[in-house]
Symmetry: C3
């Protein structure tokens, strides 16, 4: 593509030679001559000085002899060029002879069933969806259109995926929730989990994550939410729209998490906790109580972010505080001695 | 089933029309007319007021016109009805043409080997056990009767499972322990792990968990213990009976954990730690030292629960403590000035 | 083997009957008559008193009637005997009829492709490498010589493994990094990840771990590094040589970790953090800032180890500090009353 074509794609204003042929896309550091990069915070304009890129997508006109495309949101624009240039690769559509397809299955047009895929009875799959090798789909699952299930993804019976859902390799959706009740001898008696998991449109889930089925009704991940690798979501949870769960997050059962929430890596949420919209929780925090909308928490147990910051600073200063107390005791004793003598 | 049949099943006392046909089982909130629910702590009797359920299993007779079944342990009784009504589904028994079965394998009656299962040399499997697609069983493994191995479970060579063991999808049992010793150049030289993993009867293990083989002898999970998703158990550990390990727990090598212990989500245990019977460890705690029986710990590093509670409250109050110290210093200085003048 | 043969293997000095036949290798506690064990710190010489072993590898001559092999590094020597006695078992080489091999694939001599392995277009594999059942190798991947990929390992397209790389079951290498940018409606727009993962020689990776591909260039794990189970490594990370990552560690994107570093279990590292050579980070720590070489950190957020130790002791003493402050206030008030009266 040349500069003008890219400018048109992202509706940006081209500054420089519109016929410049762009050969590749790269970061500011790595870009070579002929390549396109972008400038977005936290990077400053000065970062471009050393770049070998021939063109840059930028919000403000730069003082440079490089070609530029001016647009409001350079990071988004660049991501759009990337997606256009390097669309997600998909294998040729078709149903492998080495896939097992049980009865009463409904398959949309142009789907891919790779070798060693197993579709159990009653499965439905929408058009253009791709199942990579080793994907196992339990009885009665519904998979929408344009989904991608990477190798060895497991859907337990009854799981429902919307359209454009992507699930990375090894992730398990719909395994039994972790629920037991004690019997008369103190042994753990399993509570059957007869609910299911529903994943709405445009959700992406990383590799080797687990989302458990509900006890009675459903565990639900709402539209547009993105979940990283090795994340655990317990039975009966409801995760809102456009929410971000970073790697190794653990959400206990029956939590309700709002829209546009961001949980940092390794965060843990206790069961039955409700988290409001647009909440941020810093990495490694442990959330034991509900969090109101539009707030940030950190720490284990988690606190409002400002309080956590103060406590953290003071924990570092504890040796100093202890020394201050010892000093105060000495001075006080000195005065006590003095004033009692007087 | 009608009310009387359910009452007989759980040995409860029926109050109301014994011929009432129950159409489904549900939670108090979700139950509809015709359905059965149960009342157990922390729910209070008042929770039933709004329920549309037609019948309830309860410990104490309720003032309601709904049908009731009175029994000592409503949660357990309800779990029993659930298990009767919705038994764990199993595929039709049989050995798939697309399963690979190597030599010297011993297979019990009525087992299921799904497509793409691999049984290596010398494997033994007890009657009625089910291996879902993609399960790979290493050489010489023994699997008892009535086990369920969900898709893509991996048993490394020599692993032993008792009867009625359930392992959820993607879990890996018997991979090498994480043990190296430094060579003369400072590189990590692998210590071969020639031990195995033994899982006793009635153990259930969640999805994508890992239990490593022992260095010489065995890593052992005792009868009735329940392990959640994404849990790590290191080489040479011994986990007691009827113990609970919640999701994302990590147990380092050579730990000895007692009976009826409960480790909360994301808890980490250092190597060579011994934990007594009936210990509870709160979520996200880090255990570095042995814990005596019948106690509760929390925090990282973990403390007795009461001490942790006090410290946590005081950490929140640190800004106040620091302010108190500053105030004391001012007042002390004032006195010092005053008394030294006098 | 007899004692002299073992002595020759590890270049140790035999003390006792060189023709003594060793029947097995075992720990000090478990060794039986006829068996060989070893003595290394933290074990003390007295530990041998109760052992039934017939021979021991030891650094210093022991006062015992057992046979001995004296050498500088008993743990390493014993690991070498173990590796000689129990080499990693490998299936018979050959290409299963039930493996799928796409076009333009280059296969070295003596490799093993087990049933249900899938090699996509353009894959190259070096000699003697073993792919266990269910391994799926994406387009254009390169796997060196003498690699072992345990069941259900997934390599996304373009992944590169060096020689003698071992990857345990269920691990996923090369899945997309977790990168999104917000679009005009506040939805998360996926940033295509066009980089790859490179794993150098002699790396071993545990079970169910995840290593994400880079955004543009590569995520790289350098020679000799050992990674445990359930570990997450984000996009664009660079992990040094001979480094140790214990189970459930999470490394965010774009981190640079040095050589001979050790990260304890469940440690989390924030994105863009640089960690110097020979750094140690204690289990469950959370690292938010760069760490200089040759230091140890602990805590979340992490501190230099000494500071962490002091703060931890003081956190336990917080109730006492609070009591001291209250006592100081009382004493001060008493003096204030006294001195103002005077």
């Amino acid at each position: 593509m040349n500069l003008q074509q890219i400018g048109d794609l992202i509706q940006g204003q081209v500054v420089g030679d519109p016929t410049l042929e762009i050969t590749a896309l790269a970061s500011i550091e790595d870009a070579q001559s002929g390549e396109l990069t972008y400038l977005a915070p936290p990077r400053k304009a000065s970062a471009m000085a050393e770049s070998k890129a021939s063109a840059v997508i930028t919000r403000e006109l730069l003082e440079t002899d490089k070609a530029q495309i001016i647009c409001e949101t350079p990071a988004l624009a660049f991501a759009r060029v990337l997606a256009h240039w390097y669309p997600t690769s998909k294998p040729t559509a078709g149903i492998s002879d080495q896939a097992v397809v049980e009865e009463d299955v409904s398959l949309g047009n142009n789907i891919t069933l790779s070798p060693y895929v197993v579709l159990s009875t009653g499965v439905r799959i929408g058009e253009e969806s791709v199942l990579y090798p080793g994907v196992v789909v339990g009885a009665g699952c519904e998979i929408g259109a344009n989904c991608i299930l990477y190798p060895n993804v497991i859907l337990y019976a009854g799981t429902v995926l919307g359209d454009r859902v992507t699930v990375h390799a090894g992730t398990v959706i719909g395994a039994d929730g972790f629920g037991y009740t004690q019997d008369e001898q103190g042994a753990h008696f399993k509570v059957q989990h007869i609910g299911k998991v529903v994943i709405e449109d445009d959700v992406e889930i990383g590799a080797n994550s687990c989302i458990d089925r509900a006890k009675f009704k459903e565990t639900r991940i709402r539209r547009g939410t993105k979940i990283d690798n090795l994340v655990q979501i317990g039975h009966n949870c409801e995760i809102g729209e456009d929410t971000i769960l970073v790697s190794q997050v653990g959400v206990s059962g029956s939590c309700k998490i709002g829209n546009q929430v961001a949980l940092g890596g390794q965060v843990g949420i206790s069961q039955h906790v409700t988290i409001g919209d647009r909440v941020g929780v810093m990495a490694q925090s442990g959330v034991m109580d509900d969090i109101p909308a539009n707030t940030i928490q950190a720490g284990s147990p988690s606190l409002p972010h400002k309080d956590y910051g103060r406590s953290t600073v003071l924990i570092k200063k504890l040796p100093k505080l202890a020394a201050q107390i010892r000093e105060l005791e000495k001075r006080l004793e000195a005065i006590e001695n003095r004033t009692s003598k007087s």
